[in-house]
Each structure stands twice: as C-alpha cells, then as structure tokens.
C-alpha cells in the first residue's frame, strides 16, 4: 500500500475514534462543560494535559529547532518542562482547593474586583487566540502535505472535528479525546525516533543512543571506520563546516537564563494548562496529576533532543558535498531531498557552479526561499533571493526534521502515515483546549460573573456552546488567513503569561498582604513593560544591539515578572489591607481539608 492510502486509513481511524469518544462523553451541565464534572482520574488528566500542552510546534518544529540551535535548544527543553514544577508546587493544589472553573475566577475573587477579573479575561482570550491560530495552520499544513488536499480544505476539516467534540462535549469530551490523542501522538513520535536511533547508533532507546557510539546501518558509514561517539562526531562535523560546536551555545548566558525563566513562568501561567487541574476530584489528585502530566510530556521532550542530534548528523553526512544530479560512483543527494524541495521547505543554489551541495555556516538565502518558476541546469528549483555574502548553498526549513525523518531513514509507508496522524493529534488537542478557555471566559467569566449574573444553568451552557462555536470559526479564519506575525506573537503569549498571571496567582496564594491595588498595578505595569519591549523589537524594527543587557524579546517576560512582583509589593504596602473574608479565603486554600477554612467558621 502507498503512503496516501495508509494516511487515509490511519488518520480516518483516529478521527473516528475521537468522534466516538466525543459522543460517549457529552456534557450535560456547566460543570461537565467547564471542568468535566471534576471527576477525571489523575493519570487520565496527566495524559490529557500532555496532549493539551504539546502543540503542533512541539511535535513538528521543536526537534528541528534544536537541531539547528544545538545546546541553545535547551531553553525550550528546560523552559517548557521546568514550568510544570512551578505549576505543581506553587499553583495546582491551591487552585484545585479554591475550586470554581477558571483562572479569572481566582483572580477576580482573590482580588475582590471585577476589574481584575476582566483584565484576566482579556489576557486569557488573547493568549489563547494567539496560540490557536498556529494550531489550525498546523492542521492545514499536515493535511496538504500528506493527503494532498488544499491547505484551506485541511483547515476546514480540522475545524469540523474540533467543532464536533468541543461544542458537544466541552471539557468532558475534550479530556477523553485528548487522552486518546496523547497516545496517538507519542506513538507517532517514538516509532521513527527508535528506528533512527537503531540506524545511527544501534541503540533501541533514543535517549541512550544520543550519548552512544556511532553504529548501525547509517552510523557505521558516518563513522567511516572510526570508533567515535555520536556527539563527538557531530561537534567535529559542525566545526568543520564553520558552525558552532553542537554541544556549546551561541546565545549569551544572561539571555539563556532569561528565556528559560520566561518560558517556565509562562508555562505555569497559561490558562488552558492551569484549568486542567480543576478537573480532578481532590487536592492530592492535582499534585500527582501534575507529576503524570510532566512524565508524559518528558517522554517526548527527552526524545526530541536525541532526534535533533541524529537528524543533524544524518543531514550533514548525506547532503554535504553531494552531487545534486545523480552521478555514478560519487555521493549524490537522496530522493527525499527533491521531494521536500518540491514542497518548498528546502532549496539549493549552486553558488560556485560545481553541481555539489555546499552546506556551511551562514544564511544561504535572504529569508525564506522565493522560487522562480524555472529549473536550473541540474534540475533544481531556482530561487531569486540567494544571499551572495555567504558560501552556504542550502536552505533547510526546521519543520523538515520531524516530518521527513521517516523518509530520511527510509522507513515503511505506515510510519509516514503515523507521523501525519500524530501531528494532527498534537494540533487538534491543543486547539480544543484553547478554544474551551475562550468559550468559558465569555460564558462564565463575562456573562455569569459580571454582566448577567441571573443567567440560568441551561442558558449558560448554551452560551458556552455558542461561544465555542464562534471561537472555532474565528480560529479557522486565522488558520486560512494567517496573520504574518504568528511566529512573533508566541513570544507574546509566554511573556504575557509570565508577567501577568503568574505573579498575580503566586501572590494571591503566598502573600496575604497582596491586595487589589497592588496586584492590579503590578499586572498592568508588567504587561505594559513586556508588551512594549516585544512590540519595539518585533514590529518596530528594533535591532539586536539595542537589547537591554543582551536580553532578547523572548526572554523579557522574566524581567517583566520581576517588575510585576516589585510593583505589587510596594503598592500593597501603601494601600488598605486585604479584607478579612479574603484573608480567610487564602487560609482556606492553603490547607487541603476544610477544617480551618471559612466553611468551618460559618
């Protein structure tokens, strides 16, 4: 069977599974819709959190990103996992004790202010839409590449699926489909990784092969008779071609610290992740559930850097100095090179007209390839934006690493189909979680808690469904017409979460003295500072040499967070104390059982 048939079978099968689960897990109350009735098993919640968290970017782009960044890729690995430690220790158990449905619920009640509630709603909706546009686009890209349908048709199919289970099942439907999606995506990620680990190092487990010696079918060729560790060989290959050593970094240490910090705090402050901990029955379930979530995430996050190193070694070895045209008896480029060149994710310019691929440090092109419709003398697609200042002839899009891995390693057709299904599972599960945050923010935080408190349970559920339906359509619109700045706004999402929600929630739990005035001013100053820095450097042409202390916009959320904390402390000191009943609320959430809380006092 060919790849396309396999893809139809596997993707079709997984979709049928998701729909089946959605029908079984319909929501009948707002409690079901917002927090799955609060009865989800901690391990299932851990899996669902994993799928919720691991987006199209984690699945498709991350390994590729690390592959080109080497050591510096650690900012994503540590940032996006270390945040769970903060979440588990500092937020999840207390928010679970607090109960209720959303993050704005907590901010609004703890700071006795609908103003704070609305600021939280606006941030939650902005962060969620920022993210979801990228997911829908990811769905479209996977569809178009593997099923050869138009990107827009792909987005529409994705919308239809998400619409079905998010609108019908709410959090209940999403939770169980996400658990299934986790299984699909992790299987799809591990199978090619294991194959490649065997081919390059002869080790079954990628995490071990990563530190092992070259061996196996491809690895032996790379080693060329030497006995050498994969990472040593990779450092050697990288430096020979003028790149930085793979295991050492290029970014400044302060910048690495700041980016890691911002990603950690941002992760812990993202509303679609936090809300998952409202769905388990007890405080102790919230604690262990965060552990399971990180365990399931870590399986992918420790495999990704191994895949990155394997792919990097294999890429350099396969393409460097290879003839573009097939030359008998000499090294020539493999078939996948041309397949991906056709999709536009790879481009080659023969700058020195020797017919061979020179892959060295420096940007081969000015930005992404802009192809002319002509072919060059070797049959390559010509581009009009070659960068004459470098010797590098090869442009490689980072997304290729994961998507083309099965082809690069010559794996069977069903593995390629599996990767397509995995990418879709990652994108759809994240999209659904985010859309739910948007719909809950509108039906619960805005309608029920602020504007129409008299709304009945049934009306609120209907409002939640309508809001979810609209959110799906808006997300679909952004997927079809992606704003050019999607990649840039991801820095925004983490920066905003780190400089607004994270300090507000931490202070709310750990510092009784933190009051309404302090925390609202802290959030406003933190957001304004972070947003201005990002806008200046991402949209108004600020250049890298103007960075404060060399901190890039991705890392500025760390500084924004510190500023938020300081402002909140100072202002809280000079304004009226937190009211007694709110202080009792804080006492109440600090202890799992209700013995010393306000419920016992009444």
């Amino acid at each position: 069977m060919d790849v396309q048939t396999w893809t139809f079978i596997i993707v079709g099968g997984t979709f049928a599974l998701y729909i089946g689960i959605a029908i079984k897990a319909r929501a009948s109350t707002t409690g079901d819709f917002y927090i799955a009735g609060g009865g989800v098993h901690p391990v299932v919640n851990g899996m669902a959190t994993g799928a919720d968290w691991m987006s199209a970017a984690s699945f498709i782009s991350m390994a590729g990103l690390i592959s080109f960044m080497g050591y510096d890729g650690a900012v994503y690995l540590m940032g996006w996992t270390g945040g769970y430690v903060l979440l588990a220790l500092l937020l999840a158990p207390y928010l679970r004790k607090f109960g209720k449905f959303t993050v704005p619920d907590f901010v609004g009640d703890r700071y006795y202010s609908n103003g704070a509630r609305i600021v939280a709603v606006v941030c939650a909706v902005f962060v969620s839409f920022t993210y979801v546009a990228g997911q829908m686009r990811g769905v479209g890209v996977v569809f178009s590449r593997f099923l050869e349908v138009d990107i827009n048709t792909g987005v529409a199919i994705g919308m239809a699926i998400v619409f079905f289970y998010a609108v019908l099942g709410g959090m209940k439907g999403i939770t169980y489909t996400q658990a299934a999606q986790y299984c699909v995506l992790i299987f799809a990620y591990l199978v090619p990784a294991i194959f490649i680990s065997i081919l390059l190092t002869d080790h079954l487990i990628p995490q071990i092969g990563f530190g092992g010696e070259l061996g196996g079918a491809i690895g032996t060729q790379v080693a060329d008779g030497e006995t050498i560790k994969l990472l040593d060989k990779l450092n050697q290959l990288n430096t020979d071609l003028g790149f930085a050593e793979y295991t050492s970094g290029k970014k400044s240490m302060l910048d690495v610290l700041c980016i890691t910090g911002a990603l950690m705090a941002g992760t812990a402050g993202l509303p679609h992740v936090i809300v998952r901990f409202y769905t388990v029955p007890k405080v102790r379930d919230a604690r262990i559930s965060a552990g399971w979530a990180l365990f399931f995430i870590a399986i992918l996050y420790t495999t990704a850097p191994a895949v990155a190193a394997f792919a990097r070694t294999n890429l350099i070895e396969t393409v460097s100095e290879a003839n573009y045209a097939q030359v008998e008896g000499e090294k020539s480029i493999p078939q996948w090179f041309k397949t991906w060149e056709d999709t536009g994710l790879l481009a080659w310019v023969d700058k020195n007209s020797d017919g061979k691929v020179q892959y060295v440090a420096g940007a081969a092109l000015a930005g992404k390839p802009s192809f002319t419709d002509q072919r060059g003398s070797h049959g390559e697609r010509l581009v009009s934006n070659a960068n004459p200042e470098t010797q590098n002839e090869l442009y490689v899009d980072r997304d290729i690493i994961v998507l083309a891995n099965p082809e690069i390693a010559d794996l069977p057709a069903w593995v390629i189909a599996l990767v397509a299904a995995g990418g879709l599972a990652a994108a759809l599960s994240t999209a659904a979680g985010l859309l739910l945050v948007v719909s809950t923010s509108i039906s619960h935080d805005l309608l029920k808690r602020v504007f129409v408190p008299s709304i009945t349970e049934k009306q609120e559920l209907l409002a939640a469904r309508i809001a979810a339906a609209f959110a799906v359509m808006i997300a679909g619109y952004f997927g079809i017409n992606p704003p050019g700045f999607v990649a840039q706004v991801v820095a925004f999402a983490f920066g905003l979460a780190a400089s607004s929600f994270f300090p507000a929630i931490i202070l709310g739990i750990f510092v009784k003295r933190a009051n309404r005035e302090g925390v609202i001013s802290g959030m406003l100053v933190g957001i304004t500072f972070t947003a201005s820095y990002i806008i200046y450097f991402k949209f108004m042409g600020g250049t890298a040499d103007q960075f404060w202390f060399g901190i890039s916009p991705e890392g500025i959320g760390s500084l924004g967070m510190v500023i938020n904390f300081i402002v909140a402390f100072v202002v809280s000191r000079f304004t009226p104390e937190t009211p007694k009943d709110v202080q009792e609320l804080v006492e109440h959430i600090r202890v799992p059982a209700g013995s010393s809380g306000p419920t016992a006092a009444h």
Binding site: T81, Y84, L257, R287, A290, A593
Partner: protein, 91 residues
C-alpha cells in the same frame, strides 16, 4: 478545642509546607539554571563515563527534565504524608 489551636495547627502545617517547597525548588533551580546554564561550561569538561554526554550539556538537554519529573512525584509523596500528619487530608 478552640479555634485558636486549629489556627495554630494550620500555621504549623503551612510552615512545614513552605519548607518542603523551598527545598524542592532549590533542587529545581540547581539542576536547570545552575548545572544546565550557569555552570554548564565548566561541567562540560567532565564526560559522563561510558557515554558521549558532556555533563553540562546533558543537564541542559536531558538530566534536568528527569529531575523535574522526580521532583513532582517526591513533592506529592511528601505532601500526602504531611496531610496525614496534620490530619488535613480530604476523604
């Protein structure tokens, strides 16, 4: 029993809770920001025996993540024990 002693119990529980938090977060900081970033360069002079991993690089791309997972399970276990000790466990 007066509400005073209940309050006392809750305060002591909270102090013990904070002590657990600070110890675990210290480890969290040491493996990531410490070993993975600040001291990564000097740790890189050590290679983990039998592998090609330089120690700083390994902490940054593998080790810190394993420790993070362990930390949350340890936290969960310590807190459940503390809950029982102070009789504040939910049923």
């Amino acid at each position: 029993m007066t509400t005073g002693s209940k309050q006392d119990n809750a305060d002591r529980y909270w102090k013990r809770n904070l002590r657990i938090l600070f110890s675990l977060l210290a480890v969290w900081w040491l493996v990531s920001f410490g070993a993975g970033i600040l001291w990564a360069d000097s740790l890189d002079s050590i290679t983990i025996p039998g592998t090609g991993f330089k120690l700083g690089f390994w902490f940054a791309q593998q080790g810190s993540i394993y420790v993070f997972v362990a930390l949350i399970f340890i936290y969960s276990w310590l807190m459940n024990r503390l809950d029982r000790e102070f009789d504040v466990r939910e049923d």
